[in-house]
Assembly symmetry: C2
Homo-oligomer: 340 residues x 2
DNA sequence: ATGAAAGCGCTAACAG
DNA sequence: CTGTTAGCGCTTTCAT
């Protein structure tokens, strides 16, 4: 039988250093009001090092009622757009010495949504919501909770606490690029009806058309942000009497479905029709054809969300937009329109 | 000034119910040795409901030295294979009333790897490692830590605590399907050299060839598990003197690169060359052409990992393999070989 | 410049 | 069947 070496506590450090545990605690936490002799401080620090002391997080959390952890609710880990938001948020939180606990919105623990567990059990100091389905009862629980929260990439029902991307500008950049290539008839495979990100992209598309001369009327088909949705919407759009020469797809995942619908219809990309999508991800550069995109600042969105959660007061109105950098990445899927 | 309603504590519940807090605690935790009058139990339960009482998690954690949380180290949130492992792990943990804290292996907090923070701060009751880079010093910290840990989809350096997929069988299923279609010359775009998942897939490929009659020799090119790697390896392979009629790609992400390399070379899929990959994800059904795959039980892998972590003793040797369900999903990218 | 003391909210013996 | 007790390890206020 080997005895498991019990982890050192504050008291043991204090004993070794020959001081009271209060001193050790204050040294550890960098208490600015603390005045100690250099020698004392050194003894404390060497005792900490010698015992390999690490503060007990649970005890500290209990005492301070803080967890140094933020929660993040996401729709689904398999969404590549969300993945980049998580990365940005986690890295930013780490800069503040904090962790992020990510839960998917479908998760249920003991019959209740998993994120409510986070909320009520004092496990987090703040909550970010990047999911669609926090509404109704769950939103009520949020509103009445004591911890700060913020919607990410999505407006909250009351439009008071959210941070979103500048989807409007992203859409304009994409469509104006197509116009610059010479396209005069441009269709839009939109996001789901009634989702605010989709609305902003749609307005960006429409305004880009309106502000250019000689454009054919807008053709919009809502497609959802899935490959299936993109396929179906594009198939529908391709049956329009007036076939556009270019397509702006609201989301890179639906764009994959779009591309297949176009190729399935016997059309070539970009010879017959150009395609550009919003958001980038690793695969876009390796699809056939490689996909032109407008890359949106998703990591920055996640990071900004953490910063705002960190600094904003519980009842502040926070309505931020992240606009930089928005980058056009032309690849094979866009070209000047065909002569007809 | 509104006074924030302080959350109810165990003592308040006990007072309201007219019993001692110990009783409340034991009712709450379902202590099997507890004998109480039904009436008492009812009073306790109604007091809990009335005060909307939720146990303070930090206090409980401090007292019990358990956090009801497992850690999971991943290479990267953007990896679709990893995403499904996370989902499976999180759902299984929820069934046991536990949460999962996911950290990417590159994360650093205060100059140290983020997962070490989890480990030393009593934040987790166990750690799953699905990343590549937990080795050397970090692995030492793991070995000497008191909490149980388990490698997922990857063998640990000592080959004593891991759960992996049956990559060998997945590979055989894929290759034997190609053989069944009539292919006699099959190439392999392999995973990274020296990674155990890649080795098992390679052996499955080789054995499938060996066990079939009239097969042309194996052609293997290591490609990494990235789209770039798949593109480069496939481009190399296509310059072989003996061009295979089918390709088994070790990973779905690299398969995207593979497809593009083949199309870029002016070959058609599946008319000139068939392609099948290991692992499925949502996009595979929407690539052009849609991609045939062998779907591996990634959610089950995550869930099994949690179950093993949960039940195995700290020093048990755990070397599990998850084999069910492995499902062949034929799509457009595979067909009988061309007549030559 | 440092120590003493109180207590955060909970669980687990043990006593009755 | 139920109450009492003794902390878990830490931070913070107040003395000295």
């Amino acid at each position: 039988m080997t005895t498991t070496p019990r982890r050192a506590t504050l008291v043991q450090v204090a004993q070794l250093a020959g001081v009271d545990k209060a001193i050790v605690s204050r040294v550890l936490n960098g208490d600015p009001t603390l005045r100690v002799k250099d020698d004392t401080r050194r003894r404390v620090e060497s005792a900490i090092a010698q015992l390999d002391y690490v503060p007990n997080y649970a005890a500290r959390q209990m005492r301070t009622a803080r967890s140094d952890t933020y929660g993040l609710v996401i729709p689904d880990f398999s969404n590549p757009v969300i993945a980049r938001i998580i990365s940005g948020a986690q890295d930013e939180a780490a800069l503040h010495g904090r962790l992020i606990t990510v839960v998917s919105e479908g998760l249920r623990i003991g019959g209740k949504p998993g994120f409510l567990r986070l909320l009520t059990q004092n496990r987090i100091d703040g909550l970010l919501i990047a999911g669609d389905s926090v509404s109704g009862e769950a939103y009520g629980a949020l509103r009445s909770s004591e911890i700060p929260w913020l919607f990410v990439n999505r407006q909250d029902p009351d439009h008071t606490r959210y941070v979103v991307l500048d989807d409007y500008r992203g859409a304009r950049v994409a469509v104006e690029y197509l116009i610059g290539l010479g396209h005069r008839s441009i269709g839009h495979i939109a996001g789901p009806d009634g989702i605010d990100t989709a609305d902003r992209r749609r307005r960006g598309y429409e305004d880009a058309l309106t502000n250019a001369p000689d454009m054919k009327p807008a053709i919009e088909v809502p497609g959802g942000y899935s490959a299936e949705g993109g396929y179906a919407a594009t198939a529908t759009l391709l049956r329009s009497p007036e076939l556009p020469t270019a397509l702006f797809v609201a989301n890179i995942v639906s764009a994959v479905g779009s591309i297949r619908a176009i190729l399935d219809a016997g059309l070539r990309i970009p010879e017959d029709i150009s395609v550009i999508a919003l958001h980038d991800h690793a695969l876009a550069a390796h699809l056939a054809p490689t996909l032109s995109v407008v890359q949106m600042p998703l990591e920055e969105l996640g990071a900004t969300a953490v910063r705002l959660l960190h600094s904003a007061q519980r009842d502040d109105v926070v309505t931020e937009q992240v606009s930089e950098p928005i980058v056009l990445i032309p690849r094979q899927s866009t070209a000047p329109p065909p002569h007809r």
